[in-house]
């Protein structure tokens, strides 16, 4: 077990360091490698890649001002500024210690929160699951970085893709165009690898990637007393904030790091130092994104609800290994659940021990010219997708999704809700239809059960909040245009 946690941490750190390969693409590409392992080892290794990438992402942000993955964007600002002042080692240490403290806090909370939540979820029937999945989609749209309409549109496309294949209740073939491989539906892996792996490569021409690698010496890694003091509270705040943001569906670890930066700037006695190498600007966001990535496991393990594309792919990995994530996971597969949690305690310690001494080794990977690196990634994408089902149709789907991902980025659509829609589509359809059959076609079933009605009331509240925000934005825009035309006149 420890070996697989170690392997996941190492690969995750590399995935986090390399620009263009986020944790999602890394996990998707390496998913087939875990097929020969049992479920516990597979999930331990894949989760190691996920939280390892959160550690690795900070390295390139601080040393090169290139975020290895999206959650490290905020670390670029003050981390790189600290590096410019000769404090690169201190920034790396603070990021690593913050990530360790936050990661460990997240795992402790996961241990405490997930089992009782799973116990509560055992009371869920089809109407409650339908309401929960609707809430997941609405929350995702509400928290999304792009507009609510665009996010819902992407989720709808994902749900529609999830309808492809044989209908489990009637046996009808849907949109399979006489291709027998499509009878089982569209796989998550080809879609995720295409949208995030290949799509990212298509959007990154090699001429735009520069490699200027600076690696700090080992003796420069220790922060001074003042830097430790300044980082203590931001690490604590980032850990707590990150965990709770992580539970909410959406790109939680990205939102958490942005929120944490805003909070630290707001509470700081020297907000003017932010952007010029403020220690809190590194400690807070780095802690928050690590804690959030652990928090995201709570709904996945306890409810079987993926809160983002990474947890969706991890859920798919468990399903491939014959383990359905959800409330029964703790009671029916305690070895997987507790083995996974134990590996996260050890994994965080491993990452702390590995990241600082080996920082020079990790950044040397960036010396490989991108013109040689991306063909390698394309090859791994093809191998990875083909190995899942041994169907060439899946490789074509990956290629098409790569092109779709490229176009979506161009038109400012976030592809993550599409993957989420695809993952929840079968459960959503089944629970919706089961609810209707149970009630004899009466929609009121969703409003007659306390848990379902509470969840739907939350959805309605969020939609009202989003509509108010939208109207307010429109009104402000109209006011600004009217003022501008008035000034011109």
């Amino acid at each position: 077990m420890l070996f697989y946690a170690f392997l996941g941490c190492i690969v995750g750190t590399l995935v986090g360091i390399l620009p263009g390969i986020g944790p999602l693409a890394g996990i998707s590409i390496l998913l087939p490698v875990t097929f020969g392992l049992d479920a516990t080892k597979a999930i331990i290794m894949l989760a190691g890649i996920y939280y390892g990438s959160q550690y690795g992402g900070s390295t390139t942000s601080i040393l090169m001002r290139i975020p290895g993955e999206a959650a490290s964007v905020m670390t670029c600002i003050d981390g790189y500024a600290m590096a410019q002042k000769g404090r690169a080692g201190a920034a790396l240490s603070i990021a690593a210690v913050g990530s360790f403290v936050a990661g460990t806090f997240g795992v402790v909370m996961l241990t405490l929160v997930a089992p009782p939540l799973a116990g509560l979820a055992l009371r869920f029937g089809p109407p409650e699951y339908t309401a929960l999945l609707v809430l997941g989609l609405v929350l995702l749209a509400y928290m999304s970085s792009t507009s609510l309409v665009r996010t819902m549109l992407m989720a709808a496309v994902g749900l529609l893709l999830g309808c492809i294949g044989i209908d489990v209740m009637s046996g009808h073939f849907r949109y399979s165009f006489d291709i027998k491989e499509l009878g089982d539906g569209i796989g998550i892996v080809p879609v995720a690898v295409g949208l995030f792996g290949l799509g990212e490569i298509l959007s990154t021409p090699s001429a735009t990637v520069t490699q200027k690698v600076v690696s700090p010496r080992l003796r420069e890694l220790l922060p001074n007393a003042s830097e430790w003091r300044l980082s203590a509270l931001p690490i604590a705040r980032g850990s707590v904030l990150g965990f709770f943001v992580g539970i909410v569906p959406g790109s939680a670890h990205i939102i958490a790091s942005f929120l944490s930066y805003a909070v630290e700037k707001r509470v700081s006695r020297t907000p003017e130092a932010f952007g010029h190498g403020a220690v809190a600007g590194v400690a807070g966001p780095e802690s928050a994104n690590n804690s959030a990535s652990t928090g995201a496991f709570v709904p996945m393990l306890a409810l079987g609800l993926p809160t983002g594309p990474v947890t969706a792919v991890l859920m798919a990995a468990l399903l491939i290994h014959g383990i359905p994530p959800g409330p029964q996971l703790v009671s029916e597969h305690p070895d997987v659940f507790w083995g996974f949690i134990a590996s996260m305690y050890v994994g965080n310690l491993m990452l702390l021990a590995l990241n600082l001494p080996l920082v020079g080794l990790f950044v040397s990977v960036l010396r490989i010219p991108y013109a040689y690196l991306y063909p390698l990634i394309v090859m791994f994408c093809i191998i990875g997708v083909y190995e899942v089902s041994h169907a060439i149709v899946d490789v074509w789907i990956m290629l098409i999704m790569g092109a779709v991902g490229y176009l979506l980025r161009k038109f400012d659509f976030d592809p993550a809700p599409l993957v989420l829609g695809l993952v929840i589509a079968p459960t959503f359809e089944l629970s919706l239809r089961q609810s209707l059959v149970m009630s004899g076609g009466d929609w009121l079933i969703f409003f007659q059960r306390p848990i379902a009605v509470t969840l739907l009331a939350l959805c309605a509240g969020l939609l009202v909040l989003a509509a108010v925000a939208l109207l307010r934005k429109d009104w402000r825009g109209r006011l600004a245009r009217a003022q501008a035309s008035g000034e011109e006149a």
């Binding site: 087939p32 490698v33 020969g36 507009s147 309409v149 665009r150 819902m152 549109l153 709808a156 496309v157 749900l159 529609l160 309808c163 209908d167 209740m169 009637s170 009808h172 849907r174 949109y175 290949l198 490569i201 298509l202 959007s203 990154t204 021409p205 090699s206 735009t208 013109a371 040689y372 991306y374 063909p375 390698l376 394309v378 090859m379 093809i382 191998i383 083909y386 190995e387 041994h390 060439i392 490789v395 074509w396 290629l399 790569g402 092109a403 490229y406 161009k410 038109f411 400012d412 659509f413 589509a425 959503f428 359809e429 919706l432 239809r433 209707l436 059959v437 004899g440 076609g441 009466d442």
Partner: protein, 141 residues
């Protein structure tokens, strides 16, 4: 632009859904979920179209990376088309050579050495070490 495209896609999929019965609320058919989702897609597409200023205009988008993306997709598609016929070693060598030499304009010798070396390593890792059933093709490798 984006909203219009999604409306078109929604209308197209709806036209392909004729043979899927909607059923009744008490006994939902195979077409219920897709048709509900298409309805939502059309509605969101219309909202997006009505608020067209929210997204970037086609002319405002930087397309300078487009030729690179097209070359990359074309070479990858050609290799995928022959993957199961030519097998892993030949296809992957051609893919890597095509991407490094044709797309990235690296010298032929270094591109060839890189392609053969990496393919050999990947074959050793996946086929020999991990026992993954890679496609063998007409030449049995």
């Amino acid at each position: 632009m984006g909203g219009g495209a999604f409306i078109l896609i929604g209308a197209l999929v709806l036209s392909m859904s004729d043979d899927l019965p909607f059923g009744t609320l008490a006994s939902p058919g195979a077409g219920m979920m897709p048709k509900l989702v298409i309805g939502a897609m059309l509605a969101f597409g219309l909202v997006l179209l009505a608020r067209a200023r929210g997204g970037p205009a086609l002319a405002a988008i930087a397309w300078d990376d487009f030729p690179h993306a097209v070359r990359l997709i074309a070479i990858t598609a050609a290799c995928v088309a022959v993957y199961t016929w030519l097998g892993f070693i030949i296809t992957m060598s051609l893919l890597l050579f095509g991407l490094t030499c044709v797309v990235e304009r690296k010298p032929i010798i270094s591109a060839a050495l890189f392609s053969l070396g990496v393919t050999g390593f990947a074959y050793g890792l996946f086929r020999v070490a991990l026992k993954s059933p890679l496609p063998q093709g007409v030449l049995w490798f």
